[in-house]
C-alpha cells in the first residue's frame, strides 16, 4: 500500500478538511427570502380555514386612513353538532354558541364592539338620525355553508338592532346617544376563479 493511502482511501488529516458552506448558505437565504415574501404570519385574524362564498363584484377593499378594521369570523355547524354549535371569532378569540337559545357568543361580540366603539373616532350620521358613527369597518368573514340565520343575527347585533343581553329582542334606547351602531360592513368573499 502506498504512503498516504489507508484502506484504498486518501488519508487526509482531519484538520485539513474544509466543507464549502457557501452553496448551503445560498440555498438557505433563498428559502428565507421565499418564506418572508410569500407567507403571511399566522398572528393575523384570518387564520380560520373557511371557504368564503364566491362573488363577481368582489374587490380588494383597503381600510381608509384613520379607520379601524375589525374582522368577525363566523362559522356555523349546520351539518355537525347536535344541538347546533355556532362560533364567532373576533381578535383571535373564539366565542361559541352551543344551542339555538344560547346567545353568549353574541353577547361577547357586543362587548368587543362596545369597547371598539368607545375608542374609535366618530362622526355624525349624515342621515341626521343623531347617531355618532364610529370610523370602523366591520368585515364579516362567514363560511359559505354557515346558516344564513347566524350571519343575519351577527348583522343585527353589530348594528345594534337587537339586544343579545335581553333574549335577542329588539333594542330599545331612549336617545340616539346611547346607541353604538356599526353600519359599515364588508362581506368577505373570493373571486369565482380563485383556486
Amino acid at each position: 500500500m502506498s504512503e498516504g493511502k489507508k484502506n484504498g482511501r486518501l488519508a487526509v488529516p482531519v484538520d485539513d478538511i474544509e466543507v464549502d458552506l457557501v452553496p448551503m448558505i445560498d440555498v438557505v437565504f433563498l428559502l428565507l427570502l421565499f418564506f418572508m415574501l410569500c407567507g403571511h404570519i399566522t398572528m393575523e385574524t384570518r387564520v380560520e380555514q373557511i371557504t368564503v362564498p364566491p362573488t363577481k363584484t368582489a374587490q380588494k377593499l383597503d381600510t381608509p386612513d384613520n379607520w379601524e378594521r375589525i374582522i368577525v369570523n363566523v362559522f356555523g355547524s349546520t351539518s355537525a353538532g347536535k344541538p347546533p354549535r355556532n362560533t364567532i371569532r373576533v381578535n383571535n378569540v373564539n366565542y361559541v354558541a352551543q344551542g339555538i337559545d344560547n346567545f353568549e357568543a353574541y353577547q361577547k361580540l357586543r362587548q368587543v364592539l362596545d369597547a371598539a366603539y368607545d375608542r374609535a373616532e366618530k362622526f355624525p350620521d349624515p342621515k341626521n338620525t343623531g347617531f355618532m358613527l364610529p370610523k370602523v369597518v366591520l368585515e364579516i368573514r362567514a363560511d359559505a355553508d354557515t346558516e344564513y340565520r347566524v350571519v343575519q343575527e351577527v348583522q343585527q347585533v353589530v348594528s345594534g338592532s337587537i339586544n343579545p343581553f335581553d333574549g335577542m329582542k329588539p333594542m330599545t334606547i331612549s336617545s340616539p346617544a346611547q346607541a353604538k351602531p356599526f353600519v359599515f360592513l364588508n362581506f368577505t368573499t373570493r373571486s369565482p376563479g380563485d383556486k
Binding site: 351539518s79 359599515f184 373571486s191 369565482p192
Partner: protein, 232 residues
C-alpha cells in the same frame, strides 16, 4: 478539533457558523409561522341607520318606497300550502339531502324562480361555478331592469332591494343574490363602491331582511317558509 476563531481571522477566514445558526433559526420561525392563503376580497355594505327601533327625528310623513323582494327558499317548495305543511316538507327535505341544502330557489317578486346550485358555491375551483354565477346575475339583471324607476335620477332613490333568505339555508345563497344586485348597480353607476365608507350612502339600498325566527320550533319555521314562499 476546530480552529481558534482568532487564528482563523488572522488567516483571513471568517467563521460562518454563528451566522448559519441565526439564519437557520429565522428560517425555522418563518416556516412554522407562515400560512399560504389566496387573497380574499370583499363586498362593501352599508346598514341603514334610519330604520328599526331606534328613535328617529320627526319628519314629514311620506309614502313608503316600494320594495323589490328577492326571495330565496329551498328548492321544490311552491305556493299554496299551510305553514305546518311547509314545515313537514322542509323536514322531509333535510332527511333526504342533509342539513346543508344543496340547492335553492331564487325568485324576484312574482317572477318565475330559478334554481341556485349551492354545491358549486362552496367549493373552490368548481368547473360550473362561473356559469352558475352568471345565470344568477343575468336573471337578477333582467328583473331589476324591468323594475327600473326611470323617473328618478339618483341611484339612492331607486326602490330598495330586500333579500329574504330562509334562515335554514346557507349564507352563500344570500350573498350570491346580493352580489348580483350589486353587480347590476355597478353597471348603472359606472363605478364600484367608493374607497371612502362615509360616501357609501349614494348607492341604492340593498339589505338583508331581519331574521324572522328566534327558535327552531316547528311553527316558526313553517311560518317563515310560508311568508317567503308566498311573498310578492
Amino acid at each position: 478539533m476546530s480552529e481558534d476563531p482568532t487564528e482563523a481571522m488572522a488567516k483571513g477566514k471568517i467563521d460562518l457558523v454563528p451566522m448559519i445558526d441565526c439564519i437557520m433559526l429565522l428560517l425555522l420561525f418563518f416556516i412554522l409561522t407562515t400560512k399560504f392563503t389566496a387573497d380574499e376580497k370583499a363586498i362593501a355594505s352599508l346598514l341603514p341607520t334610519d330604520k328599526g327601533q331606534a328613535p328617529t327625528p320627526q319628519t314629514t310623513p311620506v309614502e313608503p318606497p316600494k320594495m323589490i323582494n328577492v326571495c330565496i327558499y329551498p328548492e321544490g317548495l311552491v305556493k299554496g300550502f299551510q305553514p305546518s305543511e311547509y314545515q313537514a316538507k322542509y323536514e322531509a327535505l333535510k332527511k333526504t339531502v342533509g342539513d346543508v341544502l344543496p340547492t335553492a330557489y331564487l325568485r324576484m317578486g312574482g317572477s318565475e324562480a330559478i334554481v341556485l346550485d349551492g354545491n358549486s358555491f362552496s367549493r373552490k375551483g368548481h368547473k360550473e361555478l362561473q356559469a352558475n354565477i352568471e345565470i344568477v346575475h343575468q336573471h337578477v339583471h333582467q328583473k331589476l331592469l324591468e323594475r327600473e324607476n326611470s323617473a328618478v335620477a339618483l341611484r339612492k332613490l331607486q326602490d330598495p332591494v330586500v333579500i329574504h333568505c330562509f334562515s335554514g339555508l346557507s349564507w352563500k345563497f344570500a350573498l350570491v343574490a346580493y352580489d348580483a344586485v350589486r353587480n347590476y348597480e355597478g353597471s348603472k353607476m359606472g363605478s364600484k363602491m367608493s374607497k371612502d365608507p362615509s360616501e357609501w350612502d349614494n348607492a341604492r339600498e340593498v339589505s338583508f331582511a331581519p331574521p324572522r325566527i328566534r327558535n327552531y320550533s316547528a311553527r316558526e319555521l313553517g311560518n317563515e317558509l310560508y311568508e317567503i314562499v308566498n311573498m310578492q
